[in-house]
Amino acid sequence: MGFLAPLWLLAGAAAAVPLLIHLMRRRAGLRIDFPAVRYLVRAEREHSRDLRLRNLLLMILRVAAVLLITLAAAHPIVRMAGGGHARTALAVVLDNSLSTSAVVGGRPVLQQLQSRAREILRRTSASDRVWLVTADGVVHGGGRDAVLDAAAHTEPFGGAGDLRAATSRAAGLARAAALPAKEVVVLTDGQAASWQNPLSLGDVPLHAYLPAALAPANHAVIAVRAIPTRWTPRGAVRARFLASDSATYRITLEGRTLARGIAARDEEIVLRAEPPERGWNAGTVELEPDELRGDDVRHFAVWVGPAPAVSLHPLAGPFARSALDALVQSGRASIGNEIAFAPADEATKLPALLLAPADPVKLGAANRALERLGIPWRFGAAVRGESVVRAADSTRALDGVTVLTRYALSRVAGAPGGDRVDTLATAGGAPWIVAGPRYVLVASPLAPPATTFPLHASFVPWLDDMLSQYLSGEGGAPREVAPGEQLARPANVDALELPEGGEMTLSSDALTAPSRAGAYFYLRGTTRVGALVVNPEPAESELARLTPQALAVRLGTRASNVFTDSTALTASVLTAAPQRPLLAPLLLIAALTLLAETLITSPARKRAA
């Protein structure tokens, strides 16, 4: 039983009034002289039992009448058996994560879950409110037929999605509906990776279903990385697999097979290549198909181009020359006039890797050169004293590098290109290496009296990174994300080129990663300027399922509410009995009670009249 206006129950205290009257009735203060008291005494003596019974009955009737009226005022509602189910807010969570696309028993798990969803939704009535929430966070509402249609046409998601968030969302929808009954039904494959942490839905009843069949064995490509991220033009592909046995793989670039082979269990393969393609290219690492096709292919993107041709100024120092020679010898760079590597005061064009001048008297010339080249930075006063270098990007290992002499870098407000600058490293908390369109600026000369950086092991890879990432061709490393992940739109990007062709215009600063795995390219005009690689989370390939009991624990519900049998599931949902108001029956009973009280007292009243 529930109450729509429970505060009225406080008025039930009024039931104490007839009770107190009954208890205190013999304490009346009015004195009446009455000679025939002997008759009164005799009447009470001879009729005491009847009088007590009558008074008790009257008190019970009066107390009952007050309680019934109070109860009626509180608008009680009770669940009544029969007559269908109560009006219910039903939110069905349909797990359409990648793992549900695994084929079990001849058909995808998702199809089983869809069938369960439709069975449940068909049991709803027009007075119910229904929603379908999928693992990728999409909510379908708008009536039973629309939700049924959505359940039938739900596609597998490319990644794991967020089932916990979807379930919480479903509970929130059901809770917000002003209906007497609320239920959440979770239809999932019970993948352990999806339900790692317990969930709390509060007071919303939850039922869950997971297939009884065991999860199939699965092999998958769980990691692919192009190293380096820009090939000039040589590079390598590193891949790792999830397999219970050896697996046959194929590596492609722009649809062209680069290699085939057999990888042993848990083996990491590295394929070196020098492809003829140039610019941004899409590649895949593929395994032979199994029950879960979605993770048999993993995508990567790599920029391929010629080794940057670098013109090294003699005043850049011997350490710069040694590092460049090492890159040239490894084919990562060449000697040419494409990129200048010089002290700032000697620079005449971009792209350029610019160093602070070794002689402080050349600072003025250096700043004039920076102004002439449109670089929004200026050298300031020399700062002497040892300070530790911190890389802004943790992937660049500059830890341990110290700076002895540097020039304070100050940014010129309002300079062209000032909105696209990166501080790559700091020394003593101040910018030390900064970068922008087609330039990299170091606030110290690359010499041991000024910094230990040239002597550091990270110097050559850093130089390679600067030449390939910032100073040659289109900048930027490919961004690898999971399907549906939220990310910011890169600056100066107009559209996203889709794997199947065509493009999607990007209008807002926020971007949701596509739900389908693949290599997508950022476009500026018609030029590829970056890549967005969408691959499922590696954990999604772990198909191990929870037991019903374990799933019940994760869902914060009783084990009896987790079903592997579809019939039991369907029978357990929408069982809330319809609620009926008790106002009218209570008022009727109260009226009958008062009528009975009147009938008992009316003879006395009539005689009194």
Partner: protein
């Protein structure tokens, strides 16, 4: 006819009559009204020894009219004879505190009603040449007027009725015994009381009176509120004589109380009738004529 009935004092509201004058006056009106309503003169024995004249009243037989006197004095009178004084009656009046009570301000107290009723009865007897006396009692016999028929008896009776009383108890038995002693030969005793006393001693005394050959009439004076209960919700009812207190909810006990009063009346009637005594409940809002008629009926049956 209707006009005549409306002006008869014995049929008016007792309180209205009482407000018009003292006992002496109102008793005359009541008796006059009562006698005028009779179709036949109640008097007997007009033939033995002339005693006095009295004014002619409607209903007197024409043969008793003293025509000579009518011719000489131009007024009608009837002759009365000593033979009519064969009855000796005593009115025994309860003047205890319980009698000095009325359930409503507009009603006479039981004592006021009883005094007027006693006076009327006495006057009625005197008019019939019956000797009538009076005994007033509460816890003791307060006053006693022996039965006489002579002139001046009426004045003595009225004076006795106006004496104070209101004791804290009613000892009717001793009063009845005193009344019996006042009547030398067989006669009539009229007890006017609210009978708020133990019946046993009263009944035993009545039995003694009856054994002595006396006619006994008991007029049980009841206020209407004693038949029902005073209008109230919760109250503490106090007996003015004994001081006994009883708390009661009127609505709850009213039915039981009414039944008890009815039972008490039945018990009085049964007990008194068993010894040949007349018992008549008299309600204080009933016209005096009703009570007089009952007393008159008893007189007719008297020896």
């Amino acid at each position: 006819m209707d006009t005549a009935r409306a002006t008869r004092a014995d049929l008016l509201d007792p309180a209205t009559i009482a407000a018009l004058g003292r006992i002496e006056v109102t008793a005359r009106w009541i008796v006059d009204g009562f006698l005028s309503g009779l179709h036949r003169s109640p008097r007997k024995g007009f033939s033995v020894e002339f005693a006095e004249h009295r004014p002619y009243q409607a209903g007197d037989e024409p043969r008793h009219v003293d025509w000579k006197l009518a011719a000489r004095m131009d007024r009608w009178a009837v002759k009365q004879y000593e033979e009519e004084t064969n009855l000796r009656a005593t009115v025994v009046l309860d003047v205890s505190r319980s009698m000095a009570w009325s359930g409503a301000a507009a009603r006479l107290t039981k004592l006021a009603y009883a005094e007027r009723l006693a006076a009327a009865i006495a006057l009625l007897f005197l008019r019939q040449r019956d000797a009538v006396g009076l005994v007033r009692f509460d816890d003791v016999v307060r006053s006693s007027v022996p039965p006489r028929v002579r002139t001046g008896q009426w004045v003595r009776l009225v004076a006795a009725l106006e004496e104070p009383g209101s004791g804290l108890a009613s000892h009717a038995a001793s009063a009845l015994e005193a009344a019996g002693r006042l009547i030398a030969r067989r006669g009539m005793v009229v007890l006017i009381s609210d009978l708020l006393m133990d019946p046993e001693s009263v009944v035993m005394t009545v039995r003694g009176l009856r054994n002595a050959g006396h006619q006994v009439v008991v007029m049980h004076v009841l206020d209407p509120a004693e038949l029902d209960l005073p209008q109230s919700s919760e109250a503490l009812f106090v007996d003015p004589e004994s001081g006994v207190e009883v708390a009661a909810t009127v609505a709850d006990v009213r039915a039981a109380y009414q039944a008890t009063v009815r039972e008490a009346i039945v018990e009085w009637r049964r007990a008194l009738s068993a010894y040949g005594a007349s018992y008549e409940p008299v309600i204080t809002d009933a016209p005096f004529g009703v009570a007089l008629r009952r007393a008159f009926s008893a007189r007719q049956e008297a020896p």
